[in-house]
Symmetry: C2
Subunit: 160 residues, 2 copies
């Protein structure tokens, strides 16, 4: 017996929904080119010390974040979906090869929509496996952190 | 800075590696057509009461298993990779839309390789996020269960 495809609603979601004053082409480049990603992806004074991007479903998305006091935080993950200048989905749940990672903490679902005047609607949804993970992410500073990174993204994309 | 793509080795893996006396085309059909899947996917006397297959990365893979004493066990998941007659990767970690599921228990990585005489090498790897999940899966009867299902798969595929 077959049945209609089900639809589900994410439960443990943190959302950033903004209009950025930069064209979608530049924002896409900032997300997908390692040398550009490194310049905006972490709220300063944190930095991205290394980035690896293999831009295809299952391909690697790795960043090494470095903090002002010498902290080093690696983030291993993969892309789940790549729709150029439309949508990018990543997760820390896998290493390349669909190998389960150290944890399944979250999925980042990023949508881009070109708007009039060279602006872009930028919708970032962080979907977590548990309510506890979502709370933890919020307490770590999701809202100020992702907003500060989006400011840096906007500023960089305007220069491209 | 970019670096070479990393490779990782799965840690918590249960493996079934067999040669099935049936052609790969039939085995692929048994895995990907709901009406065929229902006939072999559960070791009898358990049955698949419902199956939904949306055969593409991110597409739904759902089965409802029913037991001899009226048990009902739904399994929600998606496909991660679809290489016709070569490889099929699924996980229970997501609902369609890359929405985090109730749990991230395992990834099933199934490889098919055509061999001489209409036989098929059938390699099934169940990769888990934790050692605890792997142990639990083994205690639930991974080895006898997946072997019995593979027997049913072989018998059905030979009739196609």
């Amino acid at each position: 017996m077959t049945m209609p495809i089900e639809t589900a609603t994410p439960e443990h979601v943190l959302t950033l929904d903004r209009v950025l004053r930069a064209p979608v082409a530049g924002i896409w480049r900032c997300w997908t080119e390692p040398e550009l990603l490194r310049q905006w992806f972490c709220p300063r004074p944190w930095q991205v010390a290394q980035a690896r991007i293999d831009l295809r479903p299952g391909g690697e998305f790795f960043t090494l974040m470095s903090g002002p006091d010498g902290e080093r935080v690696p983030n291993h993950g993969v892309f789940l979906e790549v729709q150029p200048e439309r949508r990018l989905v990543t997760t820390d749940a896998f290493r390349p090869g669909w190998i389960p990672g150290d944890q399944a903490f979250m999925v980042a679902d990023i949508s881009f929509e070109a708007m009039a005047g060279g602006q872009t609607r930028y919708l970032a949804q962080a979907m977590h496996w548990t309510a506890e993970a979502m709370r933890q992410h919020e307490e770590m500073g999701f809202h100020p952190g992702w907003n500060a990174a989006a400011d840096q993204l906007e500023a960089l994309a305007r220069t491209l």
